[in-house]
């Protein structure tokens, strides 16, 4: 007999909505928060597109009330990180960093996605010393200083515009000669006198690792191959996200980019395991769609628990077929 009927991993809008619905269905869910508790909304300021809040709501505040709402209906929330899972046997087992192993009949994966880095080494090594993936956290440290934002999507534009509150100048470095960002964000960015654009370019190196602080970047023009150095004090990286699926690799079907593959709602290829939010969605990636899919996963898990099939497909066989 399993310890739990349902365990949820992840505490962003998807995980907390799944907790709310499964708690209200009297399934006594256990939600494991993870290190990045609250998810990506904890890194935002005003959320203006969460329906029902006419004047917006602060991201961390939204997460905090969502958490309390799930708890009000009996969801149990555990801090800490999952270190491994075993989905090959039933009940599934979840191992945590500093709590006893938990077994469960069903699992909802809502581990989300985390910011991507550049893959040049020097950016990672200067993280916290001038390189950041969180403008709202670290913009404050660059008052009156020139900085760069890497990326050309909506979040890059949002960060660049936000950072003009602090920085003397924001250089947006983008690999192409046009932006991926929505029209409204492009217009805002182009109209901002503090923002300049460095097109067709990428950062080859962030300097100065030896000094332990950012003094500038080496920029490579992708059309001419020419390298040039720009002196600045900070680099903000906004080039998208990677799904947090390392825990599940080899046990569950992932697509080429590491996202969990779902079908018929929130079902994964392993019966009894469901996925919701950004961990399975690289298209919409909104707080409200994540919450919606968390609700779907809760309902799917409830149906699954009501009619656990006699002959559950053995997960080992499924995996063997997909990853020969």
């Amino acid at each position: 007999m399993a310890d739990r009927q349902v365990v949820i991993i992840g505490s962003g809008p998807a995980g907390l909505t799944a907790a709310l619905y499964t708690a209200r269905a009297n399934l006594k869910p256990l939600l494991i928060e993870g290190l990045e508790a609250g998810g990506q909304l904890m890194l935002t300021t005003m959320v203006e597109n969460w329906p029902g809040f006419r004047d917006g709501i602060m991201g961390p505040e939204l997460m905090s009330v969502m958490r309390e709402q799930a708890q009000r209906f009996g969801a149990e929330i555990l801090g800490g990180d999952v270190t491994s899972v075993n989905l090959r046997r039933r009940p599934f087992t979840i191992t945590l960093a500093d709590s006893p192993v938990v077994t469960t009949d069903s699992l909802i994966i809502a581990t989300g996605a985390s910011a991507r880095w550049l893959d040049i080494g020097s950016d990672r090594r200067l993280s916290g010393h001038g390189v950041s993936t969180c403008a709202t956290c670290d913009g404050y440290f660059f008052r009156g200083k020139p900085i760069a934002v890497v990326g050309g999507g909506d979040s890059a534009m949002e960060e660049a515009i936000y950072l003009t509150r602090f920085a003397s100048k924001v250089s947006v470095i983008h690999r192409r000669d046009s932006l991926r960002a929505s029209k409204i964000m492009q217009d805002k960015a182009f109209a901002n006198p503090k923002i300049e654009f460095v097109w067709d370019s990428e950062i080859a190196e962030v300097k100065d690792v030896a000094k332990g602080e950012v003094t500038g970047v080496v920029v490579r023009n992708l059309k001419t191959g020419k390298l040039s150095e720009v002196a600045l004090d900070g680099v903000f990286i906004a080039i998208g996200h990677t799904p947090n699926t390392a825990l599940f690799k080899g046990q569950i079907e992932l697509d080429a980019n590491g996202y969990i593959v779902t079908h018929d709602g929130s079902h994964t290829n392993v019966p009894g395991v469901f996925a919701a939010g950004d961990v399975q969605d690289h298209v919409y990636r909104q707080a409200v769609t994540a919450a919606g899919s968390g609700c779907m996963a809760a309902i799917d898990a409830e149906h699954y628990l009501d009619n656990v099939p006699e002959d559950v497909t053995k997960p080992e066989e499924t995996i063997a077929r997909q990853n020969p």
Binding site: E36, T44, G79, A97, D98, S127, G128, D138, F141
Partner: protein, 108 residues
Amino acid sequence: MASDKIKTLTDSNFEEETKTGVVLVDFWAEWCGPCRRIAPIVEQLATDYEGRATIGKMNVDENPNIPTSRFQVRGIPTLVVLKNGKLEETLVGLAPKEEIARLIEKHL
């Protein structure tokens, strides 16, 4: 929910409070989401290490000097471990409790 076991460090009391023993300092600010995630961990550490190490928090908004000038903090949360006033460890970003505890243990 600030625990009374946590020392509030400021630009003016920093030298005095960190001059002896092992001290963990959590640099934070109200507007920093990830700082809220690490706060309960730091509170637990304050209980775990009571009497053996000082666990302090320093608000970077209210203290413009020590965090940015002496420690070159450019992102938060940042945690540092000092021994007898000397900087021994710097940890940027989120980390599990065990990892932070290990950094304290190293210098006890």
